[in-house]
Symmetry: C2
Subunit: 358 residues, 2 copies
Amino acid sequence: MVEERRLAVLRAIVEDYVSTEEPVGSKALVERHGLGVSPATVRNDMAQLEEEGLIHQPHTSAGRIPTDKGYRVFVDRLAGVKPMSSAEKRAISTFLEGAVDVDDTVRRSVRLLSQLTHHVAVVQYPILSNSTVRHVEVVAMTPRRLLVVLILSNGRVEQRLVEVDRDLDDDAVADLRTQVNRAVVGERLTAAADGLAALRAASGEGRDAGPDRGLEPGAATTDAAGVTADVVGVLVDALADHAADQRVVVAGTANLARFGEGIDTVLRPMLEALEEQVVLLKLLGEATTGGGVTVRIGAEGPLEELSGTSVVTTGYGVGPDALATLGIVGPTRMDYPGTMAAVRAVARYMSRILDENG
Amino acid sequence: MVEERRLAVLRAIVEDYVSTEEPVGSKALVERHGLGVSPATVRNDMAQLEEEGLIHQPHTSAGRIPTDKGYRVFVDRLAGVKPMSSAEKRAISTFLEGAVDVDDTVRRSVRLLSQLTHHVAVVQYPILSNSTVRHVEVVAMTPRRLLVVLILSNGRVEQRLVEVDRDLDDDAVADLRTQVNRAVVGERLTAAADGLAALRAASGEGRDAGPDRGLEPGAATTDAAGVTADVVGVLVDALADHAADQRVVVAGTANLARFGEGIDTVLRPMLEALEEQVVLLKLLGEATTGGGVTVRIGAEGPLEELSGTSVVTTGYGVGPDALATLGIVGPTRMDYPGTMAAVRAVARYMSRILDENG
DNA sequence: CTTGGCACTCGCGTCGCGGGAGTGCCAGGC
DNA sequence: GCCTGGCACTCCCGCGACGCGAGTGCCAAG
């Protein structure tokens, strides 16, 4: 009973603080929200909430502000996910439908997400481990420089440049192309890597692709088999890279200006962090399986150095094992229900689009 | 004689203001720089410079600050391009050498440039109109969905997805591949586009690739020729896109925090502007031919709304007509000689790398 | 357990007041 | 004619005082 009201008070504090950005006092609370009690009562509840560590006052005789723990309780127990309006849904849908390829889909999503939430949006490229190899194209740029292009069933293309230590004529290149394609076309990425390993073992006997390749004068390094081994090695790398694609795209950094905090305390380190792929990947963390939205508040997240920030993420992708992560970074003082809804919605639509086009 | 000293005073003011970020007074000037005259004399010169509109004082009894016009004179008449140390040169060289492909080169360059200058770096993708078509690969993703991959001599790869209104078997795809390759391989981009147009005219008679293609039920739309026309149309688009590649990459936005100005007056609009490709392209402006570095100060630039910013750009690329632009955006109060040197150096090394690998 | 009352605390904006940096001008010297 | 030292003046900026107002905690009564 009384416990119930205390939570209602917490919810009211969070909601008010999020919208006004100012510490909220007992009087304002009872006026704005229809709790049928007096300010004095609310003050008692507040004292209690403060003892529990859910709210805190910046200084005596100021209003209250939710603590990280307070936000945690709010998110876990008090906040539903605000459903999106059908107009919003339509807007998301049509905007994402317009994408012409995977790159475009990612770009549009990240942009959309930042605009919907007014936070910094982060989208990891979809991990597509269950896609298959369509085709491998080998093109001689110069007699000793090969461009290897890997075409996957999901429409993605990986390219690598390979230096070889022997001049190759057109026939040799064509032969190589045939061999490699025979080994990998139609296979999933992991299986393709295995097929390549076999091919390499068969052809590149005794020839390891060490860092000093091309420098040894021995006869074994100048045969076609050595070249095959080189190309295969590069392909294996490309496959591995692709299977765990770690590219991340960011948008909406301008929203950082809304943080309120000082330039040097938050904005600058934040901007710096957002330019580091590694940091971004940490930020996104593990992809959550199954529709759930992960919320990490303040120090819970991987950005301890940047207190005052929350991260809202969710997984997306086709199928259970083809999962990547997207989400937003914002101040702990954010509209959690709305933000979570937007993140989930974009993830869903994106999954759908990828499913249709993949 | 006296004119000479006045310019020396201007130079001193610019240099001091750039390093201290504070209005510079007559006394500090004579102390820091070895002009052999008294503060009073310098004051007279300052009054003169102010009449000419080259410097100005924020308020009575404050030191002087260069105006945009003052910076202009400084850049045009007083500033040499500070040569880079050989250590710096080596660092640039080795850093860029490590790039594995064009994408990587661009990414590294933009990052490097922002770190060297401590400003926001902007690099346009190299325009490669004189590169040739190596190969076109056509792969059926599903019977009605073709992935067209365009491989160019410079190592870039463009991909497009084409929906066709007829199921294609492997033979049909192979045939299409052969045709298209015969038409374009070895050609420069513009010539390739012509070759494709001819092919399209020959095969796709009476069939225009309007927005409603695929909806018309007529017989002409279901033959292989129609498909050819579709594929060719997409290829022409891709070629055109590629010839005038308008992708732009940005790095170092964290340096905006060093602007000093307020968050809402400068930082936020700046961040917003930097997320718009269109704005970025305007920012880079026309590529300057022949080694010169362009400096646009304050309102001279295309960003009138953002006063207080200067843009330093230069062209780069292989040959005279294969030119793209890179540069930096920073406060008008910047180290022009050093910045110009860095921009020029990165452009040169980048051109070299592209030349070697292209 | 709730409520009204009341004294208390403390942040914040305003105001006024030097201190100091820098200027413009002038008269004298080279 | 140009440079220089001196001098009065202007104006920004930092600092402390002050009062207001919002908000609290506590208490006694309902």
